[in-house]
């Protein structure tokens, strides 16, 4: 998993930083965005191997970001894991329809487990 780049799009600074630090210590390269617009820009410029995407984020929400990523053939192959605490049934279905690879409810998972999921998705790619 060395040198694989993960883009974290998350507005909560604490969660963003702790995730980033943990992932870096596991050998990943990390890019971070705190809102939807910045997220799309970074997805285009830094071409990550995987994106962790929150739903409730400023400027453009997670769904809009997902739609734009999946609609742009340069980056539409990048797997997107939805990482949210909202998680209503409708939201999850909508996200999967829009092309998210899977979703994780933040509060339910330790970071270790999220790292495992990331590795799983990357190895299937």
């Amino acid at each position: 998993m060395e040198n694989k780049k993960i883009l974290i799009i998350e507005d909560d600074a604490t969660l963003r930083n702790v995730l980033s630090e943990f992932l870096e210590s596991e050998g990943f390269a990390v890019a971070m965005a705190s809102d939807g617009e910045e997220g799309i820009e970074l997805a285009n410029n830094s071409k990550p191997d995987l994106i962790l995407l929150d739903i409730i984020i400023p400027k453009k929400n997670g769904f809009e970001v997902l739609k734009e990523i999946k609609g742009n053939k340069d980056i539409s192959d990048i797997p997107v894991i939805l990482l949210t605490n909202l998680g209503s049934l409708d939201d999850i279905e909508k996200a999967l329809e829009l092309g998210a690879t899977t979703y994780l409810v933040k509060g339910d998972y330790q970071i270790k487990e999220i790292v495992e999921k990331i590795k799983e998705v990357l190895s299937l790619k």
């Binding site: 909202l86 330790q110 970071i111």
Partner: protein, 312 residues
């Protein structure tokens, strides 16, 4: 029937009583009123000599006003109740969600600390971190339970379809309950069929289900009591049972075991920490995972809960 309505102007009478009968949205009550009025009219024509037309019409008017008013009150209170329930669920949902972000922050920060920066920490410091972690886990669990119940009430509850190694998950939950097991001096025995296949379900939710049954079996046991957990295979399903030698559930309380917020008196006497949501949630999760749950319990002797889940 129109002559009755026109001549006696039910609406005016109803208004003077302060009842808005025309808002009643249900034709059920109108229908019911019409049937009764019809029956009254027929009875009147059969036994004419006993009452006059005026008495009949007045009686029929009273009946109609009464039925529509009662109907209106019933429908209004049902609507109000539904609204209150909806507001309550939405409130719980929003609050829980707002609580989850900081709780996740605490949990992940402690994990980062323990995993990556614990070199040089004293044992005391490590113990304190462990305490923070377990208090935080307890709080997260409580918030999750409330959120799950709110979602179940709103019919917005969802489960993942993971492939789960159920034996590993059972072992994990037994491990998580180690402290409780030692404290209550309970003996746990795990019996597993060879070559158990994986099951289909939501791994995190299934952990909650197992934890509810297993921790209950430990908590409400006797000193030196036993807990027997079996994981077996039956055709296309996995069968899981958790049997204890505890206080059992009194017969007259058994039909309420899976009710929301229900706690048996004995259970509350023994352990004050519960919310009464555990088994309600467990049953819901199992049923939404295409499973079934049953139990058998004898007061003073113990309980056995068993449920089945689809295998991959």
């Amino acid at each position: 029937m129109s002559w009755i309505i026109n001549d006696f102007n039910i609406k005016k009478q109803a208004d003077s009583l302060g009842v808005s009968i025309w808002q009643a949205p249900s034709f059920l009550f109108i229908g019911l009123g019409m049937i009764i009025v019809f029956v009254m009219t027929v009875v009147f024509f059969v036994s004419r000599e006993f009452i006059t037309t005026e008495v009949l019409v007045t009686a029929e008017t009273i009946v109609i006003v009464a039925i529509l008013s009662i109907g209106n009150v019933i429908i209004n209170s049902m609507e109000r109740l539904a609204q209150v329930n909806k507001t309550k669920s939405e409130f719980v949902s929003i609050v829980s969600h707002q609580l989850k972000t900081p709780l996740t922050g605490i949990s992940w920060d402690v994990e980062l600390m323990v995993d990556k920066y614990s070199d040089g920490l004293s044992d005391k410091q490590k113990d304190i971190l462990k305490n923070i972690e377990s208090s935080n886990a307890l709080m997260s669990r409580m918030v999750n339970d409330l959120l799950d119940v709110a979602r179940m009430d709103q019919n917005n509850f969802f489960t993942r379809k993971d492939e789960i190694d159920i034996v590993e998950l059972v072992k994990k939950v037994i491990g998580k309950n180690n402290v409780l097991t030692l404290k209550n001096k309970v003996n746990i025995n795990l019996i597993v069929d060879d070559n158990m296949p994986k099951i289909v379900g939501d791994e995190k939710r299934m952990e909650v289900v197992l934890d509810n049954f297993i921790s209950n079996a430990i908590k409400y046991n006797k000193e030196n009591g036993k807990v027997e957990i079996k994981v077996a295979r039956d055709n296309r399903r996995a069968l899981i049972s958790i049997k204890d030698t505890g206080i059992g559930i009194p017969k007259n309380e058994q039909n309420r075991v899976f009710d929301k917020f229900y706690r048996s008196k004995e259970a509350s006497n023994k352990e004050t920490g519960g919310t009464g949501l555990g088994l309600y949630i467990a049953k819901n999760i199992i049923e939404r995972s295409d499973g079934k749950v049953r139990f058998h319990s004898v007061e003073g002797e113990g309980s056995e809960f068993h449920f089945s889940l689809p295998i991959v």
